[in-house]
Symmetry: D2
Subunit: 222 residues, 4 copies
């Protein structure tokens, strides 16, 4: 089960543990402990019917735990999904390693004017300069962080100078219903690129485990 | 994993699926994918510390799905635990089998006067009569139910004559934190005997899977 | 705020308390404590946009508490909505009054053959007989219940002979997002008539309080 | 209802809206729409009994919405309380004002050695230097942020250089049960000073609204 997909410059998603399969969804829907798999297509038909008609409770019988390393601004979006369960490393407890997100040049585009919260696909003429700024700002913040720690500043205070782009790590547990809800919102074209990369990675990891459910999800999205 | 414990006259709890172990709790708390088990007692110490100090999120990395067959008045209490996830057989969809709970004679005690919601431990002098009444009422209700179905009454209407003591079946999924919360309330001396039997059965089933966590739970209860 | 709508033969929905308005949704979306209402249509446009695009969190700033009296089989469906909060009268604590649901003749139709969980719109030729059966079964169950209580049977055991059609009462609290989610599922043509009546009553009660939100909900349903 | 308490150097908690009172808890517990207040002490006795014995559902009939302005590292702790509902300003959508937390000198103490996640009460000999560093790091980060925005960098990327100490604003809705759970954890001596200030402010705001409930909470904490 060592499935790990690298994301962005220092991040990743790794499957830590899981419970269930397509058959678990079928058995939960039928409330049948030992229903045999039906390969005549009726299991697939049932799963597609359930998802399409929002009979979502059988999808709650499949659970995943992921380890995720991602920039904190990505975690901030993630943690708003309140049916997920999280265990994150604490910067009160341990010093954070010097790792922060620096976007690749082709990701540094321009502010969208149509949609106030998005960026466009058009390369920013100042991309090099901006990338440089992000890198320098991160280096500078960590330099101050290390100095403060050397000066005896408590970790819980020192961390507050670190940028939102700093990488953190967490365990994140969700059932398949909550995962699909996350993917629906976070694979959407309006979601920020940086979280879409993590959403896609989870989709790629779970597809071999629940292939029919993933098909049903894709079909319903249209 | 065919662990099944009979409960009351027709009920049971069966473990359908699970994810995790004591080590999963330790790894979630440490946010460490591959932390080795420490048999010097430090893992146990950590688990006891976490539970005692209400750092409950690491216990959410362990999940169980049970199949439960119990009287509907027991399900009604169970379903109020809103962090559990349920899939129950539907009496709109299928006819329910003629099975209803008849308490054993030694369970038919007297109304408590101290605690308005409880019963005492004292044998009721009319226990035989009461047991007989419960049995007859159940038989009569199912007789009417079957007649109504024969007369073409829709299942979703016919079911409404069935008594609260009728057995139903469900799949119930919870993480270890939610399970312990359930056990805390439903193994309590003030809980009704009939649900305590199911709570105890779940405790017996999960103990071999998460023995240290169960010790920590017992210790904290005092 | 004494808004109360009768439902079925003995039930009702009553608004007990609420917090918020259309303007609360706008202010939550804008994170603006004192945003003035804009009557140029831009508030309405924002609310429609939010609901349509599943930006549902601003709808969580409006909350309602209802008192509901309904048959227990209706409560059983209701309690599966786990973001609602409930306080129900306890039949362990108090004797239940003799009130159970007897469907009107025009509601006693036939079992659907297309959809295994539904009933049709077609009058059942045995409707009179079935109605009679339901009534008699309820009367008989309450007769036994009263006898058992007279014989000193504890309330928590005696209640188990009462039918699913017995009326119970509860306080039910939900925010507008959860209420709309309930209405989406329970006003649906596939939902059982008996719960649809209560869903519609809540819709009628909240519409004067959040008229624009209700419009947005209606529009999105299409 | 314009109750606002300043917190830290630029933050505050303000009551935006609420529903309910001590009497609402009593009525929910009794499932009684129009129960009159009992000033003979029996209402207070009931509320104390309920909270002490973990009958928490009646406390879910009282709801509050707060506006909170706090440093992002405080929000990060807050957002882990998954029964709260949040609407936060988005730095994808709007530029954030230049406001970041600089601890007062007497708050800059030393790292605790007993408890790896805490700080002590002892003044740090380098407090002046550390305060200066935090201030400078914040100024520098905002300088880069403004330059990047001037260079056409999308807001959703530019924000990632801002420090965790940056102030953000949100609406936060919770019922009284969830509020008390928050207060239990976040007024605890092990909680970080900066979030305890906000917890205390909320306690001060709700006490005049639900004085008996707050007494019961205090009593149970011992």
């Amino acid at each position: 089960m060592d499935t790990k997909i690298d994301c962005l410059d220092h991040g990743f998603v790794r499957l830590v543990d899981y419970m269930g399969s397509d058959l678990s969804v079928v058995r939960a829907a039928r409330v049948s402990y030992d229903a045999e798999p039906r390969n005549d297509g009726s299991d697939a038909k049932l799963i597609h019917y359930l998802w399409k008609n929002k009979h979502v409770s059988p999808f709650e019988a499949v659970t995943f735990t992921f380890e995720v390393k991602a920039p904190i601004f990505v975690f901030r979006q993630w943690h708003r999904h309140n049916s997920w369960r999280f265990n994150e490393v604490s910067a009160r407890y341990s010093e954070l390693p010097e790792e922060f997100y620096v976007p690749a040049l082709d990701q540094i585009t321009t502010q969208s004017m149509d949609n106030k919260q998005m960026r466009t696909d058009k390369q920013n003429p100042n991309a090099n300069l901006i990338q440089h700024d992000i890198h320098n700002a991160g280096r500078y913040a960590f330099k101050v962080y290390h100095e403060m720690l050397r000066d005896g500043c408590p970790r819980e205070l020192a961390r507050m100078v670190l940028p939102m782009g700093t990488y953190s790590r967490m365990f994140a547990t969700a059932n398949l219903r909550s995962l699909f809800h996350f993917l629906e919102l976070r694979m959407h074209a309006h979601a920020q690129h940086e979280i879409r990369v993590f959403a896609q990675a989870m989709m790629d990891i779970v597809r071999p485990i629940v292939p029919i459910c993933c098909d049903a999800f894709d079909t319903a999205k249209g």
